[in-house]
Amino acid sequence: MRIFDPHIHMTSRTTDDYQRMADAGVRAVVEPAFWLGQPRTNPGSFTDYFDSIIGWEPFRASQFGIRHHATIALNPKEANDPRCRPVLDLLPRYLAKDGVVAVGEIGYDSMTPAEDEVFAAQLALALDHDLPAMVHTPHRDKARGTQRSLDVIKESGIAPERVVLDHLNEVTVAAAREAGVWTGFSIYPDTKMSPERMVAILREFGPERVLVNSAADWGKSDPLLTLHTGEALLKAGFDEDFVDRVLWRNPVEFYGQSGRLDLSDVADAGPTFAGNSILRGGS
């Protein structure tokens, strides 16, 4: 089984995790910029963090044969702190990087006016830089947050197929599918989704525009839940091609839209997708 985890915060994980992931078949990851346990209070903290997820972390991943890309953004929670807002002006430098395959994680935390403004501004940056967008749905008040996110996405003018709405579940999946965006599901040990619930969703809706991730971070999470979802799918009678589509070809298709996804060093990366080169410089 080859696995592309389209959402995982490797900064918070150990080298043991990298080894276990490599052993489990994880060959590529995308690390979205997000908040840390401790809120930041100045733009310099962000740039050092961005440098880490486009510099040190890809180097660390490469030592385990794992290809690492990043998404860059000011996350919604910290968008509410005026001390962090100047980060917005620094984003264009980072959105020009080869290893940056989307603007994200953007979206809502508490649905404040500041979050509205920063969400819309960053969707505009995605359009400016010809990048897809990765949108996080809030942990609280999720159904309303999902609908409001879809409204803002629609208003921005970005093509829905260039957006993934993440952390969806049984309650929020239908609205996202109807809007034409990609649907992301985070498989967690206790919260968010479980492998078994994911199997049920895939049975109902099929594999189209579905991304399955571990969203593993500094909280209680598990970077191998992508593998366990693949195993649960096989056990439920889905074939290997179906699992490969969900866990590999779909994330390649979604992030390949950036024209910057570089899987040229990854063993068994497979052919380019629909003429959209997944090789370096394919834009």
């Binding site: 740039t47 440098d51 486009i54 510099g55 040190w56 890809p58 180097f59 620094l90 264009p92 430098r93 980072y94 020009a96 990087k97 080869d98 290893g99 024209g259 910057r260 370096r280 410089g281 834009s283």
Partner: protein, 190 residues
């Protein structure tokens, strides 16, 4: 060593780059968006003497930029960008402004950056910093073949540092890299 003029000649037909160099000359801060995108904008094909198109284009963008932009490009660079800045440094008339960049690269744990800081640009490092950098290469397993003017600059104090390191490795039952042992022998003979 390859010169800026040679790189200019190689890339003279790259219209997009010619246009971008004009933009940078007019408005220096545009380099911040163009430099990271060099591979996608100008190509990545090999050119001459170990230079690729993106590296050469990056060197020309830096040569067209004031020193504060060169420093900012390095500050916000990803690894490939930082490597391109380090490679271009000996060609840029920025004098000792280059030293903090070399020191930054040597502070990292990325073997590619450490190795690049010991290329021709390392001529600007003082001897003490240079010795520590060479020892760090041995420690990290970076081949010493890439160290610029190694035979010329290696001295007694470096030999003493390598000797002490060899003792530690021996105590731990670990091998010294063969290139480091060869250098140690050479310094003992001198």
């Amino acid at each position: 060593m390859t010169t800026l003029d040679e790189l200019r000649k190689e890339l003279a037909g790259n219209d997009r780059l010619t246009e971008d160099l004009r933009r940078v000359a007019e408005k220096p801060d545009t380099v911040g968006g163009l430099f990271p995108a060099a591979g996608r904008r100008y190509g990545r094909e090999p050119l001459l003497d170990g230079w690729t198109t993106d590296e050469a284009a990056r060197a020309l963008l830096l040569a067209a930029s004031p020193v504060e932009q060169v420093l900012a490009v390095y500050r916000y660079g990803d690894t490939a960008e930082k490597l391109a800045v380090l490679k271009a440094l000996p060609l840029l008339p920025i004098g000792d402004s280059a030293v903090p960049l070399l020191e930054d690269a040597l502070r990292t744990n990325d073997t590619r950056l450490v190795a690049a800081a010991l290329g021709p640009a390392a001529d600007r490092l003082d001897q003490e910093a240079w010795r520590q950098a060479v020892l760090k290469c041995v420690f990290m397993g970076v081949p010493l073949s890439g160290v610029h003017r190694l035979a010329e600059r290696a001295d007694g104090p470096l030999g003493a540092m390598l000797g002490a390191f060899a003792q530690e490795r021996q105590a731990a039952g670990r091998d010294m890299p063969p290139d480091a042992l060869a250098l140690l022998d050479q310094l003992k003979e001198a």
